[in-house]
């Protein structure tokens, strides 16, 4: 359930108080950004998707039901936008396969952003089908239960469990031999 202060912000946002909405943005921007980054592997796209998530959420704010958590509802929008992004990028032939290939062969760090282990893990995540990737992002990184993830992904809990199982199997294969140190 949405927190009382949060509900006040939402109610005020619905009456056109953009500063109240800015409070919600500040509260959840890091969560949304993390989801977007894990889904896209791109800092620039994660930033764009984060902004787009909040804009879309504002447009759809009337449809938010206070029985559920605002973060869950927001996550759903972020995941849906990320999935649409991936479809669009695939059509352009610009999914970050080159980045993923570089991350597997490149033994050096990428400067300020990530170490080789992180790049390799993200490269493996990038090779997952979009919906399996979303299931892993939600259950591992966002630590959502399968039931919550199912609400976000608009599917059954059994489907989430299957996607997590399939994703883990593929990730184990891709990350075989990666040092855990």
């Amino acid at each position: 359930m949405a927190l009382p202060d949060e509900l006040n912000c939402i109610q005020n946002s619905l009456t056109g108080d953009h500063e109240a909405y800015a409070t919600l943005v500040k509260e959840y921007q890091k969560m949304v950004y993390a989801v977007a980054w894990r889904m896209t592997g791109s800092l620039e796209d994660a930033e764009d998707l984060t902004q787009e998530t909040f804009l879309r959420a504002f447009r759809q704010l009337e449809s938010f039901r206070s029985e559920s958590k605002f973060s869950t509802w927001l996550c759903r929008i972020a995941i849906n936008l990320s999935l649409t992004w991936r479809d669009r990028e695939r059509r352009r032939g610009a999914v970050h396969t080159q980045w993923a290939e570089d991350s597997i062969t490149d033994g050096e760090g990428s400067g300020k952003h990530s170490d080789p282990l992180s790049r390799r893990v993200q490269g493996a995540l990038d090779k997952l089908p979009a919906k399996q990737r979303a299931a892993i992002v939600l259950t591992v990184y966002e630590e959502r239960s399968h039931a919550e993830a199912a609400k976000i992904l608009n599917c059954t809990e059994a489907t989430v469990s299957w996607r997590v199982f399939a994703a883990r199997r593929k990730l184990k294969r891709l990350l075989k031999g990666v040092s855990r140190e």
Partner: protein
């Protein structure tokens, strides 16, 4: 590698941190966009089209307004789209490019495809009221539209009937009672070839 090891490995992968300025700027950027949208009264776009297509659509609105005015004596404003003649004339101007003709509280507008890739099929008339918000659309089977604040995919059922599939509702002209969210829906297969 077992599941627990994999989870541990996945969590060890750090996310690159964006500059701190992003967290300070992002809320402001969002509210700036919202303020701009409110000031310009920008409506959510129904499709993603290049600017020139919108310019053409705007020009066509003028034409459609003339056509609507021409038929005013014979049809009430809200029935403009139910007129097969209006639809036929509009489609003839943009063969295989019209995704939808929309009539709502803002008047008539046209949604065009970038290419001539809209399949030829019978136009489908859809009128939706959600509370006090009403709108009409003429579109084709398979197109996704937004009317009266509701996003939905419109399908012909092959027997002159229409099916609407939204995010949280489904409706069929053969079973009008299906929609559960207080939407009032009216549809018609215009089948302008027969007119």
């Amino acid at each position: 590698m077992n599941d627990s090891d994999l989870t541990s490995l996945l969590k060890k992968a750090r996310m690159p941190q964006p500059p701190d300025e992003l967290w300070e700027e992002l809320p402001g950027r969002v509210t700036q966009q919202l303020n701009r949208a409110r000031h310009e009264n920008i409506q959510p776009m129904r499709t993603s089209l290049p600017r020139w297509a919108w310019a053409m659509a705007t020009a066509l609105c003028v034409v459609l307004a003339f056509i609507a005015g021409h038929w005013h004596g014979q049809h009430a404003a809200e029935d403009t789209l139910a007129s097969a003649k209006v639809v036929r004339e509009t489609l003839a101007m943009f063969p295989n490019r019209v995704r939808a003709i929309v009539q709502d509280e803002h008047g008539l507008s046209l949604v065009l495809s970038e290419n001539n890739d809209v399949p030829s099929s019978s136009p489908l008339y859809v009128h939706v009221c959600s509370g006090k918000q009403c709108g009409s659309v003429v579109t084709f089977s398979g197109q996704e539209i937004q009317v009266a604040g509701q996003k939905m995919t419109v399908l012909a059922d092959g027997h002159d009937g229409v099916i609407l599939v939204g995010n949280d509702f489904a409706w069929s002209s053969r079973d009008p009672a299906m929609a559960k969210n207080n939407l009032k829906i009216e549809t018609k297969n215009l089948d302008i070839g027969k007119m």
